[in-house]
């Protein structure tokens, strides 16, 4: 709903801003004319095929029926019809005599070919006006033709029934009797239901069956499939992956607790008067903690599982994996403490950690990059699976981004802002999005048990994402003092993002094709689906926000906050959860409580919508209010109810994370069952 709102706004503003389409221009009218003629042509084609069908029906078949035809018709009769015939001795062809109406129509539609001199707007408008009734006429004709066709068919059916009846009456009564009785008996045949299973009790000697329900009862929620047993994973690698996921979950819970508190502060600004808990200090604590703590560690954890697996080779160095984990945890811990203590890098979103802290993170990326490259170097298959393209590329990009963002040589004056636009948007798109796509390219086919729809689409999306995403950073500073050409460049790049996003989405959706039924019996696939949906809508929303006209009413408002949550949460977090629920049961052999996975899913999804939709709606209203030149404080009062909704949605999201943490606990530590208690059950 909101996207359509956004699109309407976009179109509306595009028209105001004398952009590419207007009903006052020749181009606009030519476009309308073009579409009308196109529709007319299509309609003509349609009519042509329908009428030729009528022509083929018209003559019909005459003469007596032979035996084969008679048999053919008998086989279409059902039991009741045969019974009735045998009792009455007459076929019952049902239906009324059709009233024949014939409509002659001339193909007057052809021959509309506008000459080149008709370039005047007035002429074009006139043409459109003339063609509109023609179009209406065509619609009428289409309905009429359909009607005639139906009537013709009905008529033919009746004649055939008459012929069939005659054919039957030419047979001798005994012959007729046998023929029909035979058929009736055949129709009445039914299986005993034991043909295939036999009389023996079922037995599963090879342990092939699982998910057997012995005591059927009405389930509260549908039971989902359990994870398929896979070849065992090196327990040391499993520990590393679980440690990453565990730490990520810890930062998720802490980071969103901070976020939840920030959301509450919009409703209750006097909740506390403590310097290190004040809004300005906690906001970067929240954003950086969920960025570098939750999402980054979560991605890397899944990466440590995927990279060796698709290379069919052990990880080059487990120890390096642990070093990276410790370094990133240290970066998030020290970074958060610094921010709360009032030590930050001086402005710039996601660049608030001071460089010594961020250096820890960069070092971790460097170590991981070497580790992954060495692993890929030792791979068994010749090809590098596309997941590894995305994952390794993301780590290279992450390193470049942090380096460019933190080196001081090009950061004087506006240089700082130009780099800031680049840094923050590349971090989002080239680190988080790129890495996550790599995860999806591995887990989605695996969970659907079918190959990715198109490898080439994945490669197209890969290169176009680099081409377009890299240049769009400055679209966060439209109308600022950054060079106008750079702003335009960023807007063009934002439009170009349609290509990788559409390619990626198409690829994922078509991989789902034929496997949609698996959605309801899996607890990971719904997370993937939500991620894919937000991948498309969230990314396209970003494109829509980049235009100059949309910047007028969306920039600086809460709309941006909604957008960042739709993407970082709707895309990244949902994909990460999908991957984690897929991989952790494989590592531990323990399943999460399914009902709680469902609770997590729905609370996170509904919470996200409660969070974002009001902010988008309110943000748009606030922007319009600013354009109207209303006092600033009116915008603040306007937002009050929407901020309340945000806090409510945020609370749901936060609760969902507690459920997720509990599920992770159930999948790992809590399921170590003591041998002693279990002993009785294991008796032979």
């Amino acid at each position: 709903m909101c996207y359509s709102l956004a699109i309407i706004h976009l179109l509306f503003s595009a028209m105001l801003g004398k952009a590419f389409f207007s009903v006052h221009s020749v181009a606009g009218w030519t476009l309308i004319l073009f579409f009308i003629i196109l529709i007319l042509l299509l309609a003509t084609l349609y009519l042509y095929f329908r009428t030729s069908e009528i022509r083929s029906l018209a003559p019909g078949r005459k003469g007596e029926m032979d035996k084969r035809q008679l048999d053919e018709y008998i086989s279409t009769l059902d039991k009741q019809q045969i019974d009735r015939y045998l009792e009455n001795g007459k076929p019952s062809p049902g239906g009324k005599e059709p009233g024949v109406t014939r409509l002659a129509f001339a193909p007057f539609l052809l021959g509309i070919t506008p000459g080149s001199f008709w370039g005047e707007t007035g002429v074009l408008i006139m043409l459109v006006l003339l063609l509109l009734p023609v179009l209406a006429g065509v619609v009428v004709v289409i309905f009429k033709v359909g009607n005639i066709l139906r009537q013709e068919r009905e008529k033919q059916r009746l004649t055939e029934a008459g012929r069939f009846s005659e054919g039957l009456s030419t047979l001798s009564p005994a012959e007729r009797e046998t023929l029909l009785t035979q058929r009736r008996d055949a129709l009445g045949y039914s299986l005993t239901q034991r043909e295939l299973i036999g009389e023996l009790a079922p037995e599963d000697e090879k342990g092939l069956l699982s998910n057997i329900t012995s005591h059927a009862a009405l389930p509260v929620v549908p039971v989902k499939k359990r994870a398929v047993k896979r070849p065992p994973i090196d327990p040391a690698l499993a520990r590393l992956v679980l440690a990453y996921i565990g730490c990520a979950t810890f930062w998720l819970v802490v980071g969103t607790t901070v976020g939840e508190y920030l959301g509450i502060k919009f409703v209750a600004p006097d909740a506390d008067h403590v310097s290190w808990l004040s809004f300005g200090r906690l906001r970067p604590v929240h954003t950086n903690m969920v960025f570098w703590g939750w999402a980054s560690l979560g991605m890397l954890g899944l990466g440590y599982y995927i990279v060796p697996r698709v290379g069919n080779t052990p990880l080059a160095s487990l120890r390096k994996g642990w070093y990276s984990l410790w370094l990133i945890n240290a970066a998030v811990l020290f970074g958060s403490l610094c921010l709360m203590g009032g030590i930050n890098n001086a402005g710039g979103e996601y660049r608030e950690y001071i460089w010594p802290v961020m250096a820890l993170f960069a070092l971790a990326l460097m170590i991981t990059l070497i580790n992954f490259l060495q692993t890929i170097g030792r791979r068994k298959p010749k090809e590098i699976y596309i997941s590894n393209w995305y994952i390794v590329a993301a780590i290279i990009f992450g390193l470049v981004i942090v380096t460019v963002g933190y080196l001081p040589f090009w950061q004087d004056g506006l240089g700082e802002t130009i780099v800031q636009g680049y840094y923050m948007h590349q971090a989002v798109g080239m680190w988080f999005m790129m890495f996550t796509l790599g995860i999806v390219y591995y887990f989605l086919p695996q969970q659907l048990n079918r190959p990715i729809y198109s490898y080439s689409l994945g490669i197209l999306a890969f290169w176009t994402q680099i081409l377009f995403y890299t240049v769009i950073g400055t679209h966060h500073f439209i109308f600022s003092s950054i060079p106008w050409w750079l702003q335009t460049f960023a807007i063009v790049g934002s439009v170009g993002m349609i290509i990788p996003v559409a390619a990626g989405t198409t690829n994922f959706i078509l991989t789902f094709k034929g496997g949609w039924h698996k959605l309801s019996s899996s607890y990971t696939l719904p997370f993937f689906l939500v991620g894919v949906v937000f991948y498309f809508t969230g990314s396209m929303q970003g494109t829509a926000e980049a235009f100059r006209t949309t910047n007028l009413f969306w920039h600086f408002t809460d709309f941006t906050v909604a957008h960042s949550h739709l993407t970082m949460y709707g895309i990244i977090s949902f994909f990460l959860w999908a991957g984690m629920y897929a991989v952790v049961p494989r590592l531990t052999g323990k399943e999460p409580p399914q009902i709680l996975v469902g609770t997590h899913f729905w609370m996170a999804l509904i919470g996200l919508l409660f969070y974002t939709v009001p902010l988008m709606y309110g943000g748009t209203l606030k922007g319009l209010l600013w354009i109207a030149g209303k006092p600033f404080i009116e915008g603040v009062t306007l937002m009050e109810p929407f901020w309340l909704w945000r806090a409510i949605g945020g609370s749901l999201m936060w609760l969902a994370h507690l459920f997720f943490a509990y599920n992770l606990y159930k999948m790992t530590a809590a399921t170590r069952i003591k041998q002693k208690d279990y002993g009785i059950l294991q008796q032979p």
């Binding site: 710039g348 290279i396 004056g413 240089g415 680099i466 109308f479 006092p631």
Partner: protein, 339 residues
Amino acid sequence: MEFFNNHKKLFWAVFLFFGGLTLLVAILPALENQRNFRPLPNAEPLSDAAVKGKMIFIANGCVACHTQQVRNVDMDKTWGSRPSIAADYAGDHRIDVWRNTATLMGTERTGPDLTNVGLRQPSAAWNLTHLYNPRILVKESVMPAYTWLFTTTTKPNPGDVVINVPAEFRDDAGDGQVVATPEALQLLAYLQSLKQTKLPDGRPVPAFLYKKKDKVESGGSAKTTAFDGAALYATNCQSCHQPNGEGLKGAFPPLKGSPVVLNDNPEIMVNIIMNGYSGRIKEGYGPMPAVGTNNNLSPEEITAIMNHEKTSWGNNARAVTPDEIKKLVDLIKLQGTTK
């Protein structure tokens, strides 16, 4: 394909592709900007106190909600007399070995833009009270209260800046007086220093784009747009004199029943709006800034504000006309230039 199956070639290509684009859209434009722009010749460097204040502004993450950029679009006119230009930020350099340059341009306006706040709201009393708790002055505000920038003392020293905090907003028991710490005063100095530098004479001022279209289109009758006095009052006056016109006891005088406002002769009132006023400091009221001049209010806008003040909250004075106000404003401007 051989190229895609060789991880060295593939990832080097990826790195160079991304690195090249990075150079093109981030590093080179940033270097170019550094080389091409210098601060405006008449730009005032920050005082020592303001420099320290800026550090407090940074430490507390104020940029999360306050931008410092006037975009070149009509709707941003409220925040400055001209769009911001690259030269406005050219004086910003790396702060120290730990911290980056701070242009503090920001990406969100949960609070007002601060590019020109030193001109729009220079009052020390207002700013300090507002910092202690914004809701003392603006009840709808969601800005944090910075009470830790203040101390309480029963015997203020002669140099101390005491602020008047209503009892319900005090964090402590309420005995003693609230005194601004040096940090609060530094932050104040920084806020007061935020003023747009005038462009040197002869330079064309960049235009504000996406102007609002005038409603007068057909008919040709030159209808003057009716200004909304209440809205203008809310933007320019309300944060001190309050929505109910009663001001704030001991800080900002009431307009309700004020002899200046009720006076049939508008001369004094126009003079105060255009030049500011500091005649009632002894009574505890802070000096009033020259709102009309600072905020570039037109005579029509001033008329709308004055008529709103003259006829609201039980005030019932003669309404003034744009023409008589225009004459007075022109006279004041003339005096200003001859001085």
